[in-house]
Symmetry: C2
Subunit: 486 residues, 2 copies
């Protein structure tokens, strides 16, 4: 044990009980990675504070020792955003797992950051309320992590991302100060720090309390399953539904490989010969839902769908969703390994991009299954590969990079809801011009001038992009950084 580590532990022991400081390699092991296990690193030590005052003290000590701090919620992140720093403290917020207050009249709940996403909705069911954003990992993921990644989910088409469902945050700065950001009212004066913290991947502060908005549970929910004989037709139907002024609660798409894998696994009753299916969920008042379902059917009449099936009974609806929700593990059974991508595109580019992904799949000789939030244009191509075969992992990563660059080329972005973390640092060089990255670094410095919060994540250093020689793509035009318009 080097002396600084020893001193750091001594300083933390002054206010943390022994069991809240993990330092043995065996105890550190479970924290070496998050949901993206391709990246692994043991932290210097793990601190598990239990009170806001303790978090403030941890931050003050780390600031004094100039030791990096990486915050971790449930560790379900998919871009290695919670990958530990070898010389830093891994700050686990697992003990911040209490719902502090439910205000039924205001439709809000004050919760600690370690509370699981689904636990919020479960706690407010008795009041006829729910918390809308529902990432696939909602059983496990924490609301603090949702804020860090600005998570979406099936229902964010209608109800928005995490940022649209949070009113207020309590945040600890790199120096251990407590900031209240946002308010209990609709809007706040001053710069929009609330939005800035959302999706900032633990780089600007440590969230220690979240006030979320709650919504009344809809009176009725219906799901339509719609099948198509081509992926492009399904993509077109998505645009048509939205263009008709209908906002479904969710509008998901699966292509044939995903349909077959999910059906085999979950027996959801999917048509396994379809090239693509859409799952379109409509919620609201009983009459309103009936009327909207009729309108969606009307749009689909024009769309060359091969089958339209309506689930009215709750059990039928659950069965249809079960297939969608188990698609990832189901595809996992088809192939020794898979790599889940996350890019967002303008909705109108769906047919074109899905076609080009299938071309890229052939070029790289790796199957790609698509299961995604079609209404938002948020793609999740799953690249199937076998890490045991020499070169396949590398080829999968290359294919993934090409898919993300394709997203940027059509005016989209390299991430929808999984964040940048470590995984997509290189693609950030494609997405942004040097000046835009420099502006991100300036924002970072405004919160954390010494760079102690989650260093090395989310925003690449400018020299990394320069060394990569990355092509920055702007408005569909490729351009070398040195040829930028600046």
């Amino acid at each position: 044990m080097n002396p600084s580590r020893h001193d750091l532990i001594r300083a933390l022991q002054a206010f943390l009980p022994d069991e809240a400081i993990l330092a043995d390699e065996e105890a550190l092991r479970p924290y070496e990675c998050d949901g993206l296990s391709a990246f692994k690193q043991l932290p210097l030590l793990v601190a598990m504070p239990e009170t806001v005052a303790q978090v403030q003290q941890v931050m003050r000590i780390c600031h004094q020792f100039q030791v990096p701090v990486v915050a971790r919620g449930a560790g379900t992140g998919l871009s290695a955003g919670a990958l530990p720093h070898s010389g830093g403290v891994l700050l686990s917020l697992a003990k911040f797992n209490r719902i502090l207050d439910i205000d039924v009249q205001a439709c809000t709940a004050r919760v600690q950051p370690g509370v699981r996403n689904l636990a919020i909705s479960q706690a407010v069911v008795p009041y006829g309320l729910f918390y809308a954003p529902d990432p696939s990992s909602q059983v496990a993921c924490s609301i603090g992590g949702n804020v860090a990644e600005n998570s979406g989910g099936v229902h964010c088409l209608k109800y928005g991302l995490t940022v649209h469902n949070v009113l207020k945050l309590e945040v600890i700065t790199a120096e251990g100060e407590l900031l209240t950001i946002g308010s209990d009212a609709l809007d706040s004066p001053g710069y929009d720090l609330l939005a800035l913290i959302h999706g900032s991947e633990g780089m600007l502060g440590i969230v220690v309390e979240v006030t979320v908005k709650l919504l009344p549970l809809p009176e009725a929910v219906r799901v339509l399953l719609v099948a198509f004989d081509s992926v492009e037709k399904a993509g077109q139907a998505v645009g048509d539904i939205i263009a008709a002024g209908i906002v479904p609660a969710g509008l998901e798409m699966m292509d044939n490989p995903a349909i077959r894998a999910a059906e085999d696994f979950a027996h959801a009753g999917y048509p396994t010969d379809a090239a693509a299916i859409l799952l379109c969920e409509i919620d609201g008042g009983l009459d309103e839902v009936a009327s909207q379902v009729a309108r969606v059917r009307g749009v689909l009449m024009q769309s060359d769908a091969t089958e339209v099936r309506l689930a009215v009974e709750e059990s039928d609806r659950q069965k249809l969703w079960k297939g969608r929700k188990s698609a990832f593990p189901a595809i996992g059974r088809l192939s020794p390994d898979y790599y889940c991508m996350d890019g967002t595109i303008p909705r109108k580019a769906l047919p074109q991009v899905l076609h080009q992904i299938s071309e890229l799949s052939k070029e790289f000789n790796l199957p790609v299954a698509n299961v995604f939030h079609a209404g938002d244009g948020n793609l999740h191509p799953l690249i199937l590969y076998d890490a045991g075969k020499p070169g396949e992992l590398h080829r999968a990563e290359q294919l993934g990079g090409r898919i993300l660059e394709l997203c940027v080329k059509v005016g989209g972005t390299i991430t929808g809801e999984h964040g940048v973390g470590v995984e997509k640092l290189d693609q950030m060089c494609v997405q942004f011009a040097p000046l835009e990255l420099a502006q991100f670094h300036a924002i970072k410095a405004a919160f954390d001038p010494e760079g102690l919060l989650n260093p090395g994540k989310a925003v690449p250093e400018l020299h990394r992009c320069a060394e990569l020689g990355a092509m920055h793509v702007h408005q569909g035009q490729l351009a070398h950084p040195e040829l930028e318009r600046f």
Copy 2:
């Protein structure tokens, strides 16, 4: 003319035509104030560039001369955010008035910042689309100003504020660099600069292009007029409608002084004996609207309303809205002067706050009329006074300050949509703790380290708050800054 002003004009003349530089006092006069004429100041000169390159050059020259720059759209702002700087350039974006592109398939429009808010909706009517945020000043105000203030309007209850309806911005920095912020897709990686620019009151950059989201025009629109014999009952009904899971397109409230003034002016058919009325607009598909109207009626059955009237015909609907839209000028006829406040409160506090405002009105012996976005909890108390009577203006300002402090006390904020500008600098000391203000200054420095963009607006210097001895209110508790928990 002092030499530096002379040099500055010469430098601008190198690339701006003579008619794009205003320097005579007579020519400067129209720019001395915005919509809040209590604050007046002539600028050093006015520059009216016509191209993005010219804006970049103006900014580079001003940066070189270290001259402040205040951007101005249509000048309809109500918090003196566009008040000129005596030693600075007033940068008018009036010539940026072109709609550059309408993408019907993607439901977006690329527009220049000087385009009027209503002009966007008018341009896209042929495609069955509209731009949702609709401030009262929508005939005159510009989309660039809407971004600067993060404007709302009657329909932002359902469709969100400006920030929720903008996808992408082109922004010129204080040093004259061009940044692309946001993308054509739903979400972008990196820190949320798009939200940060919204509501930043021209302090972080100059917006030179805005990509807005367009929505399909609803098939049907209905308005309910609901009358009550007490303001508190009307406030309660607002909460009940929202709690029932109904999201009206707009939910506006007027109290008796406002009703009588508007009726006298616009002959909208309002019940002039009502203590308060609500205007509840429902839009969507035909059946859906019918169903929602029925549900609202159901809620109102329990609410002790004295009258519920449905406008189905477009002309009846327009008549009801005409009263609401002309309420401000109508009240202007009642009194030589009025002062329009803008605070936001949690919706559940409506009955209590409306009652306390009427108590304050008695205490200060000044009538207050209320016309506001009740669904959002966004209050607009209009304080009636006579500037000709000694002390009345001062009393009106004091009353206004007390009302805003009341908003903060119940967990609300000192502005909903009018911004802070110069008007509410002191109330910012009430809303925020010193550390929170310091964080705003750090953000400002990350964009504009030399403080050249709209100096002296929106975020007060810490010494101003200290000198003011302002009471910072946190979570309903008053606290002296020196007793803060930091």
